[in-house]
Amino acid sequence: MKLYEFQGKELLRKFGVKIPDGILCEKDGILIYGSPVILKAQVLSGGRGKAGAVVSCNSQGEEDAALTRLFEMTLKGEPVNAVLVEERVELSREYYLSVTFDGEAGTPLLIVSGAGGVEIEETADKHPDRILKLPFDSVLGPLDCHLERAAKFVGTPRPREFADLLSRLWRLWCEAGALLVEINPLAETPNGFVALDAKIELDDDAEPRDRAFRAVLQKQQREISGRESAQSDTITYVPLEGNIGLISDGAGTGMLTLDLLRDRGGRAADFCEMGGLTSPEIIYSAMDRVVADPKVRSLLIVLIGGFNRMDEMAEGIVRFVAERKLKIPLIVRLCGTMEEEGKKIMKSADLPIYDDLEKAVEAAVAQAAMTGGN
């Protein structure tokens, strides 16, 4: 779950990080604020500055005009429905800092730079020497020597405060169940450090530990985006442009099938993956979701059971075909755990099965072409 800037800042404030004074202005709200201010569109995607969605204003007239313009914007598909209005901060220097993790090394990571406000990934590519990445032990947290080194690297005249700020970010990371806590830029002012931006992503897997808090954040997001948050089941469904419906019980074989379809001149209508632990109900609802797309001309189901049971998969497929009177050609590749039982169930319902993936892919492409449409 990615947080809006204002949500992230509120969380930072809770953990003792200073943020600029400000208020959130929603679409039908009226803004009366002392100038000068910064207006910042609240969307979840990045690149707001470049898109002109962060505006500095010096008078009430400028504010009104900028606000009207911001509320007419759509950034990467997200309409702007809220604007954060903040006091402007006088600063002497800007820094970058974040807490995240290195998945390959299996450690949390502290990243700092004396060049704040920059695109960090770009800097990492072009000037890796301007960034310090410090892996540390997640059980102990960052050691004093890590914090001191980070402060020395960025060259701040306030090393103690800087170190204290980093340890607060780590506490936030742990307690809120975060994946990323990023302040970019962090301003150094005569009164200490102030977080001018906040990019925080929370771990959906940690949600059950703190449901009440997450519910508040989700409610705020619904109110601003006007959209329901994505429902969390084990099914991944990504709509694509083609006409062959695709369901798999593993991400790797799903992606392989996607590639094989394209190599043979076919195109998938979706990527739908059920995860490694499924049930007849899950495959039923996966089929339901995939055939709801009117583009779909043939349905290819690719199953290779480890944790999954093929008898359960066959049961779900047979039930769906019978109850929903499936009209399009169905191609099923089914093998693995409880394969015999699964094949028996498919056979008794007169549904053909394939054993070889590449043959199944060829059949799906041919059938989709025969039934026509695009």
Binding site: F101, A251, E273, G275, G305, F307
Partner: protein, 290 residues
Amino acid sequence: MSILVNETTRVLVQGITGKSGSLQTKSLLDFGTKVVAGVTPGKAGHEVYGVPVFDFVADALRATDADAAISFVPPLAARSAALEAIECGIKLLVLTMEGIPKNDVLNILNYAAPRGVRVLGPGTAGLIAPGVCKLGAHPGRMFIPGNVGVVSKSGALSYEIGKTLTDAGIGQSTVVALGGGPIWGTTQKDVVELFNEDDETKVIVLLGEIGGAMEITAAEFIARSVKKPVVSLIVGRSAPEGKSLGHAGAIIRGTKGTAESKIEALRSAGVSIAFTPAEVVNTVKKLLKL
């Protein structure tokens, strides 16, 4: 020799009385894996398919000589169970569960590393050394003993390639699944390194996918230190940008993590690139001079 496990590996199943735990225990026993103990707090004295159940790992280790563990403990309790197994001296821990909070995963890995414990996963189908030991969900019949070492992020893809090799009469030394990420206890580079030192493994098959840079790290290691032939299949060539495809780590961001960038890195490391399972088999055949 197989890697990570051998004929003497004795297995403890954490979460053995759960639905998944008991079903998989049966499948491990059917394969011939020496499952010597199970742990589920509060279920001491029970048996699952003849395997004695204990409340604590320490009790299980006092009564048996388990040295590897496979965990089916639900996500929110997985950390406690894993730390217990590590604390008690288990040397290989397979975490099958998906959805463990990331900070819990980091805790497990950071607790394991200085204690010399190898963690496979989380979210992994585990591994199989055909004819020797199975410590995961791999359907036993899709694999036969031989000289090909397979490492894959995806469990299902490792079955797919195992099955295709087996259908062609080519056996495997060990087939290892790492999990879909975005955090891994064991990486492709780690497994390639083990295969490189394993006498039985003559050809290494590396199965990768879009997202992250693990395949690039493996390619760098292969270029530097691997003398054995390596064949690679990278899936997700036709994946759209910015969408997570089933694995949390399987996402292309801009030009980062694309199949092309990985294929390029592997190719320049001297790895043979295949685009379909059949091509993997044909290339392996050539390399084994079959």
